[in-house]
Amino acid sequence: MLADQPRAPAHAETMGHPFAPIPYTVRSVVLETPDTTTLVVEPHGDQRIPSSRPGQFVMLYAFGVGEVPIGVAGGNAEGQLIHTVRSAGKVTQALTHLTPGDTVGIRGPYGHGWPVANARGGDVVVVAGGLGMPPLREVVYELFRHRDSFGRVEIVYGARTPKDLVYYNEIQSWRRRDDVRLQVTVDAAGREWYGDVGVVTTRIPDCRFDPPKTTAFVCGPEIMMKLTAQALVERGVKPESTWISMERNMKCAIGLCGHCQFGPSFVCRDGPVFCYRDLAPLLAVREV
């Protein structure tokens, strides 16, 4: 499906209570890095969340511990969902220690995803930093599925070290395609790494695209997105064609709890994907 994706409120009304998670069973677990795990989950019973669009997120719930917002990295018609979780607090620690057969809760999907359809007819550059790759994974497949609708496709993936790259084997398979150009770079590496070394922004000048006709999807830590967006704009990509995915503390995910405010926006409801043009002034202010 590649319908136009209007920036209208996402239909987040799930069945029943908006805060009640739906049980899902963990199907498989992949250890991506020492602290990052990919979970494939499927509905436990009849209930499932509505299908999501690339860039949306869900609240992932560990029974008795709590819930955290996690981007949707993939899904299928059977209701299976893919989530990549880094252990950083008690909830994510519980989630990364799950094994097949365990139960999690999910509510969502929430927010606005990447406006992939807006990029049709032009070139696309996808820039991921570290764990910014999972929320962009479905964008890549959306581009692959409708490859003829887009011009050149450039994928840039940066991480701190080679050990921090997720979906490594899968990404190597993208490299074999002749209709996509992939650059993978790390901030620093040992001798075992024969790839590029340099911060992700250093790869932008090498990207091949027609800047005024390019749409950029950038996801990673905020500082990485800000520097990348600046590098893209310096190359002539329009700020209004540059999209970033913001991260803030989210508790309710539906704009009721106030935690995720970023200036005038509720990141959960108005984002998490935003147009860089709209956010650029606030990204320059400290502690917004």
Binding site: P9, A10, H11, A12, E13, G16, H17, P18, F19, A20, P21, P23, T25, H44, G45, F63, G64, V65, G66, E67, A88, G89, G101, T103, G105, E247, R248, N249, K251, C252, I254, G255, L256, C257, G258, H259, Q261, G263, P264, S265, F266, R269, V285, R286, E287, V288
Partner: protein, 386 residues
């Protein structure tokens, strides 16, 4: 019994006020209204007339709140206290759901919504505006809060037009009061003199009419006299506001002054105590917490009020986005007065003055706005460039 119509104006004698309370009960409402507790006027269950703050008033200023005796027996001769009505629609602590483990999975049971029908007695004009704002927050977006919506649907609002302005009041600046324009089921104006102690009672909705119709013998219609007196009372109150705020272009003023040096000055005073957010009738921030049973077989999910002044409020990956007190005060004020417009189409401030009164160091947002307005955009470097 004469027909009670919406828009009708009646006279309710002070002596018949207990009957009015009974009529509210007879219509199926539990009455919640002002009462004196812990040296303050708070909102709680009202069973009888004596529960009301008869003959009490409140004296307020930055960081100051004192109850004082009045020289009369006014029932509503005060302004606003530390409570606001939001606590009855959006409780400080609320269970959202419970869940228990069942055969390798879990079952979630949402908390039943509903509860008693409540009559809010003594809702000020600014508080009616605040209820409109929380309505927009909790039930105006794509997803409504089920608890708020269920409780909100069971509320009768009995407003009281203010007969005096408090020391920290500025509803006139915010365009919310002191006169009640709409949104109330019934509107009272307390007339202490001349003439006997009585109330002008205006019927705003059919629900309100139902209450008035219960009174027997029927209330007499108001004369021009009472209407004029009520108008005079509201005008006098409007003319004696304790504070004022110039709201012209305030959203852009704040948006373009996020790095104004004034923030540092106010941040040096702010204790991040969260008082202003707790007393504010529109602050809506909350957190959710998971409360597991001892055997970990069941959990309860609770929601409780939270505040943007708490360090953990913006916790992200083990640190906080807003670490400094400056950034937290700025978030509160710019949200309340500025970005609220972007989010909900109105200001988030009703001019009730609670945040000024209950700030332990007397920080006054009207003063802060004036200071920024006096020297906007004063970010410069020593080199002189902007």
């Amino acid at each position: 019994m004469g027909e009670v119509r919406v828009g009708g104006q009646y006279v309710l004698d002070r002596a018949r006020f207990p009957e009015f309370l009974s009529a509210l009960s007879a219509c199926g409402y539990d009455v919640v209204g002002p009462t004196v507790r812990d040296s303050a006027i708070v909102y709680d269950r009202i069973e009888k007339l004596d529960d009301l703050p008869v003959g009490w008033t409140d004296r307020q200023d930055g960081g100051k709140y004192r109850l004082e005796r009045r020289s009369d027996e006014a029932l509503f001769g005060y302004n606003v206290g530390p409570f606001s009505w939001k606590r009855f629609l959006f409780p400080p602590r609320e269970r959202l759901w419970t869940a228990e483990k069942v055969e390798g999975s879990f079952v979630v049971r949402p908390e039943p919504t509903g509860g008693p029908r409540l009559a809010f007695l003594g809702v000020r004009a600014c508080e009616l505006a605040a209820l409109d704002m929380t309505d927009k927050v909790f039930q105006g977006g794509p997803v409504a809060d089920p608890g708020y919506r269920a409780r909100r649907a069971r509320i009768l609002k009995v407003a009281v037009q203010c007969g005096q302005a408090g020391g920290t009041c500025f509803c006139v600046s915010m365009g919310t009061g002191p006169g009640v324009r709409s949104g109330a089921d019934l509107v009272l104006t307390e007339i202490l003199s001349p003439g006997p102690h009585r109330f002008l009672l205006e019927v705003g909705t059919p629900l309100g009419a139902e209450v008035v119709a219960r009174l027997a013998p029927p209330l007499s219609s108001a004369a021009k006299d009472e209407e004029g007196l009520a108008r005079g009372i509201v005008e006098r109150t409007a003319g004696s506001m304790g504070r004022r705020m110039d709201t012209g272009g305030i959203r852009d003023l704040l948006r373009t002054n996020l790095e104004h040096p004034r923030w540092e000055i106010v941040a040096a005073r702010c204790l991040s105590c969260t008082n202003c957010t707790m007393v504010c009738p529109t602050c809506f921030c909350s957190s959710q917490e998971e409360v597991p049973s001892l055997d970990a077989q069941a959990v309860e999910r609770w929601r409780r009020w939270d505040s943007c002044y708490n360090l953990a409020f913006t916790e992200l990956h083990g640190t906080s986005v807003r670490k400094s007190g400056l950034s937290r005060y700025r978030q509160w004020m710019t949200h309340k007065l500025g970005t609220w417009h972007d989010q909900f189409g109105t200001s988030g401030c009703v001019g009730c003055g609670r945040c000024i009164t209950w700030c332990p160091v007397g920080i006054d947002l009207t003063e802060e706005v004036a200071a920024i307005r006096a020297s906007p955009g004063t970010i410069t470097t020593k080199g002189g460039s902007r």
